[in-house]
Subunit: 138 residues, 6 copies
């Protein structure tokens, strides 16, 4: 078993809030991340997959294929977008980094199987001071 | 003459567009940065000031004072905000990195004189692949 | 189960030595880190906690609360200090990065439970060439 | 149990290809990494070892000893070399990052035992967009 | 006058040597960089251009156009290549970082004028410990 | 004219204070950097030299020679030391980053001439949030 990680980037706007909270309550719970006019980040996405090395190619998985999957399923949908109102896999969720990691896991788990690997970890870095890691529902 | 630089950070939403352009024209000129629902970045701001070393303190300028000026005049106004609609010094400008650097220079030039230094350069890093530097109107 | 990591920074002086060793023996075992007049580092502290996402907030834990705990229990005590002679949780220990990680774990384990999460890992980066990770006594 | 990681660097040339493939087939499978005239990278190697803290020194393992092992067994053999034709531990293998990580594990596992620690992970970063981790044959 | 910088990356093999030197002499002058079987690097290229902000777009130059020029004239020719034997603009030159910066300047000066800006600086980072800057022949 | 920069690192303890100030006055002027028991940093030193490319070697200056000068004149004296009491070129100076940059310039200006280059800039990075640049007495 070996692990390989691909890093991708996207820039997006978001807002942390609940429609059933008042603005004051939203500010109390979510702080300046609740700003009604949005704010945004340069996100880094690290996708780690695991599996065995193919003795013919020396690859666990071809990184070009892995990058293609991540771009089709995640980056093209979220880059330079507003994740609260334009990103199909985030529409029903509070736009926290935790929920974003879980949603991206759900986007990637199956297509990564199809290219012969197993999704191990989705890591999202929102600022240089915090990141979230999700290893699936276990 | 010596130069000292202070790095600060802010996260903001923005959109590159002209109201007098159609959506198609905006997309043609500004690309995905023209997305009507905004996107955002983690911006890095480097402020470089110059002057002579004070022989009593060994400082060109006290970094705590410099940071205070930058926070009061720039960071507190723009962090976790939408720069097109909430940031006084950007309201009348197209929200490009070039214009942002010029606007921040105008915010900082005078207050930095008041703490005994001279503004030398405003540098804005928008993504890891591009940054703008402005040295004043010369 | 999801994991979230908060990065904090501190600058401190230290010295690696044993009082029951001669200077020569200290130099032999600890190298230039045994310098009697101290030296210092910019330390990075990564604190990883784990738990479930709160469906109401989308948070595992509020990062502001996590940062507050880390600052109160660790950063305020050690930043710009000499860890051998001024930091209560290091006074009885050899000031190695390994011992520092264990001591910080002990400082953080209980208070992190009180904010509703479980401490998973304490990581200390001393220079860009080495870091220590501690996952608790198991 | 505690974990300590040492980072080392090397620059090397390589080529991904199979002698039993045509140039076209090599390009199809390995892309521009199959360039017959080689290309190269600045590689980062992170070696993580685990064990207990020695109460006399506060160390899991002396980092100078660990660095010496890594340099003797890996860096001195591969730095500023062509890994396909000059590096003994890579001669019989396809020069993928996956195989490189496995080969370095084999170089380091025994000598790290001899300095009193246990090899936990070999991580190779080839570009800022991908890295491989190997935890041994399990 | 404002300055904007675009960062691009390429991976290449090279060798520092003179055909009119013996292997011993090459090693004496160029050290391990003279290895006859090549070695390689992940290079970072920063291209800084200067000019005035276009009041209609807020841009000094469209970064997409600048990136296109750099890719056509430099990156596509050198990425995953051997710069001593495959890169037209380096064929007649000793493959030092200094000469590479000068050669890239010559590749870029005219095409950057054509997109309405003026080349200010070519910076090449070869490893994290050294970089070269060239501001043209003045 | 071309510019080449070499990066070196050192770890050191220091304290900002004046013996003719009270502890209160020192704290007022220098903040927590005045801690009587010292603190420390991982410093980065960038030394930029300028000159013409030697057509025989393609080098402005051999980086091995440049690194040797910097190590002999600066790093060996200050690494893992207390700059207020052990570093000859800092003994008579307040240990600010500004004064450190000027002192290092004085250490390096002549020896760099002897290896055929001209010192252009000394840059000291004390933390990730501040750095000082000195271009000599002009």
């Amino acid at each position: 078993m070996i692990y390989i990680t691909r890093k991708e980037r996207f820039n997006a706007a978001h807002r942390l809030y609940r429609a059933d909270y008042s603005d004051e309550k939203n500010y109390e719970v979510f702080g300046k991340c609740s700003n009604p006019n949005w704010h945004g980040h340069n996100y880094y996405l690290h996708v780690t997959v695991k599996g065995n090395v193919n003795p013919e190619t020396g690859f666990l998985v071809n990184l070009t294929s892995l990058s293609k999957v991540i771009n089709e399923r995640v980056i093209n949908k979220i880059d330079h977008k507003n994740m609260n109102i334009e990103v199909d896999f985030m529409l029903e969720r509070l736009a926290s980094t935790e929920n974003l990691a879980i949603a991206i896991w759900e986007q990637l788990e199956e297509p990564i199987k199809e290219i012969g690997a197993q999704l191990h970890c989705v890591k999202i870095t929102e600022t240089e001071n915090n990141f979230v890691e999700y290893y699936g529902n276990k």
